[in-house]
Symmetry: C2
Subunit: 144 residues, 2 copies
């Protein structure tokens, strides 16, 4: 089992075969070769997939993730980019924290309408002022 085929990779990584092909097409992973038509992967693909999953879960687009790898397959370290992304995550987290507090409060608030509740209004004001609005990226739900 030195060079797993696509089914094996799918099984062990949890990533569907269709997605693996898609990722290969996008340059996110590479197959080590073929046996007949069939792709064979290097075992390192699992680490690569873990990294991709982590990055995806943190808000990177596939485009950005692809740019994280050099053509030779190594991780390219763009310190600038990494730091910028970390800052962005910080901002996102602060935004989420505000929303969470708002929700927690709303769940127990006694005001006749949330729009009359000072705590809620503070949140709204922040949102309206754009203090909360991320310019380029935003956390949201995935399809499915």
């Amino acid at each position: 089992m030195k060079f797993p085929d696509i089914a094996e990779v799918a099984r062990r990584s949890g990533v569907p075969a269709s997605t693996l092909r898609f990722y290969e097409e996008k340059g996110l992973i590479v197959s080590a070769g073929r046996r007949g038509l069939r792709r064979l992967f290097e075992p390192a693909v699992f680490e690569r997939l873990a990294l991709i999953a982590l990055a995806r879960a943190s808000g990177f687009t596939l485009e950005e993730i692809a740019r994280m790898f050099s053509p030779d397959g190594r991780v390219r370290i763009d310190r600038q980019m990494l730091a910028a992304k970390a800052d962005e995550l910080d901002r996102t987290m602060r935004r989420l924290g505000a929303m969470r507090d708002g929700l927690r409060h709303a769940a127990v608030c006694r005001a006749p309408s949330h729009l009359e509740c000072p705590t809620f209004r503070r949140l709204l004001a922040a949102a309206a002022s754009g203090a909360i609005r991320a310019p380029e990226s935003t956390a949201h739900k995935r399809r499915r």
Copy 2:
């Protein structure tokens, strides 16, 4: 300026007119009436839009946001749902925090390859184990 038209709302809220129409179609906002063909909005629409922006920025889908309002336009308080969402935000924040730490570390790490760095590998392991993977919702980039 008691009942702003769509252009006025767009100008003051920063939300494009096309989006306002779209939101109305989706039941996220309502127009107070028409002058001829043209929509007129109640001033309260601004608060509503702020709330929508906040919720969107926190990972709610338009579907979910729509369900936050009762038919009469008031905020519907489903304490259960609010608390659940708050918990979810907490989990998301923890995930983002891990990634941020990973990025910050990667930006200064001296290891020859990130894949050889213990800190980075811990992150990968967590990602691979699914500890980090959110089942239903994930933070990611918005289209442009």
